[in-house]
């Protein structure tokens, strides 16, 4: 069994010191490697990532990361990357790395990924140059993922992203809300002004509950265009990594699968609500052939 610790969206900056460090003290007893799924900083400042790098320095497990959108905000992503690499964190963008864990070759293909949306509501490279650039960026990163996954020879293969390749980890559980509207209408003749006021409160509560439910249990669907892209799932369908890890969707849910059954985990820290989560993978299991992918 290979034990993968993973977390994303740490959003480090000034004032973040010691948030993670106490929980990393025993990491080497619990995991064989640590993967970071982007948004390591608040605004992409090298001084922000330095705070995190200092906490990661000296860990006795290999650390592999991709950057996220926050890490690009200051246009200093190269410096962010160098600070991490100085702390022996391997940063991937359209690249792969392989780590030997007790004789098992664990391969990680990484890219930030980008938005673009999902089937039925995805952006197309049509129209304004800005829209073409938006979708073009997703396509370019998806092509990079395709290339590195195709060339990744390992006993266990992991795709590490910041943006989500599937809708399932963006979509929270939906509560079923039943409003007994009809009953109240039928009871109209018995309704006093006071009861009428209560009834209005109850009926209006539905929209309030839906809004509350959305904030508690799921990303608002209008945001899905910027939370992930189905295009990223193409290389995953074709090359079938053993697990896909991503972050970015703070109001999403942790667990999902592609329709063809590949495990996807949203490890955004506000979702997992721990310093990291640990996933164990069996390197000896029979992988399905790529051709058996079907639609995902």
């Amino acid at each position: 069994m290979i034990r993968i610790a993973a977390v994303g969206d740490l959003h480090y900056g000034e004032g973040s010191r010691e948030i993670l460090r106490p929980s990393l003290q025993h990491l080497q007893d619990r995991a064989d490697l640590l993967l970071l799924a982007g948004d390591l900083t608040r605004c992409g400042g090298p001084e922000e990532v330095k705070v995190l790098a200092d906490e990661l320095r000296g860990l006795r497990v290999p650390v592999v990361a991709v950057l996220g959108n926050h890490d690009y905000h200051a246009d200093r992503e190269d410096e962010v990357r160098r600070v991490l690499e100085d702390a022996r964190v391997r940063v991937l963008e359209g690249e792969a790395t392989a780590i030997d864990v007790d004789g098992v070759r664990v391969g990680i293909a990484g890219t930030k990924g980008f938005g673009g949306g999902f089937r039925g509501a995805h952006g197309s490279d049509f129209g304004e140059p800005e829209m073409k650039a938006f979708v073009g960026h997703t396509k370019m990163l998806s092509d990079r993922l395709e290339r590195v996954l195709a060339g990744l020879e390992a006993d266990l293969r992991i795709a590490l992203l910041h943006y989500s390749p599937i809708e399932a980890t963006l979509e929270g559980e939906r509560l079923e809300i039943y409003v007994r509207k009809q009953t109240l209408v039928n009871g109209e003749r018995y309704v006093t002004p006071e009861l009428k006021e209560k009834e209005t409160l109850v009926l209006n509560a539905r929209s309030a509950m839906v809004a509350r439910e959305q904030t508690l249990f799921g990303e608002p669907e209008r945001l899905w265009l910027v939370l992930g892209a189905e295009r990223l799932a193409g290389p995953i369908r074709a090359h079938r990594p053993d697990i896909v890890l991503h972050g970015h969707a703070h109001h999403g849910v942790e667990k999902g699968r592609t329709p063809s059954g590949i495990a996807v985990r949203n490890v955004a820290q506000p979702v997992i609500r721990h310093a990291y989560n640990v996933y164990t993978l069996d390197a000896g299991r029979q992988l399905l052939p790529a051709a058996a992918g079907g639609i995902s």
Partner: protein, 85 residues
């Protein structure tokens, strides 16, 4: 002050401020404004960040009461591990 001050624009103005002010830079906060109260919800990683949200909102709207319902996300070690297949 360049932000629109119409009450129905205020939540978005505050959200924009909380996204772009480098002291906070959080994209996932919920903001509601009712009468002279600003209510902010969501998740952040540290108590300092939570405090800064109040400060930034207060700077923008000094005459409003800021009700900070933001949760500081715990960052303890996980309890167990999940076998994935």
């Amino acid at each position: 002050m360049t932000e629109p001050r119409r009450p129905d624009y205020l939540p978005e103005a505050i959200r924009e401020k909380l996204i772009h002010d480098p002291r906070v830079a959080e994209q996932d906060l919920r903001v509601e404004v009712r009468e002279h109260r600003v209510m902010v919800g969501g998740n952040v990683s540290s108590p300092q960040l939570k405090q800064r949200i109040t400060e930034v909102a207060k700077e923008l709207l000094p005459e409003y009461e800021v009700v900070n319902e933001v949760t500081v996300v715990p960052a303890a070690e996980p309890d167990g591990e999940e076998p994935v297949s």
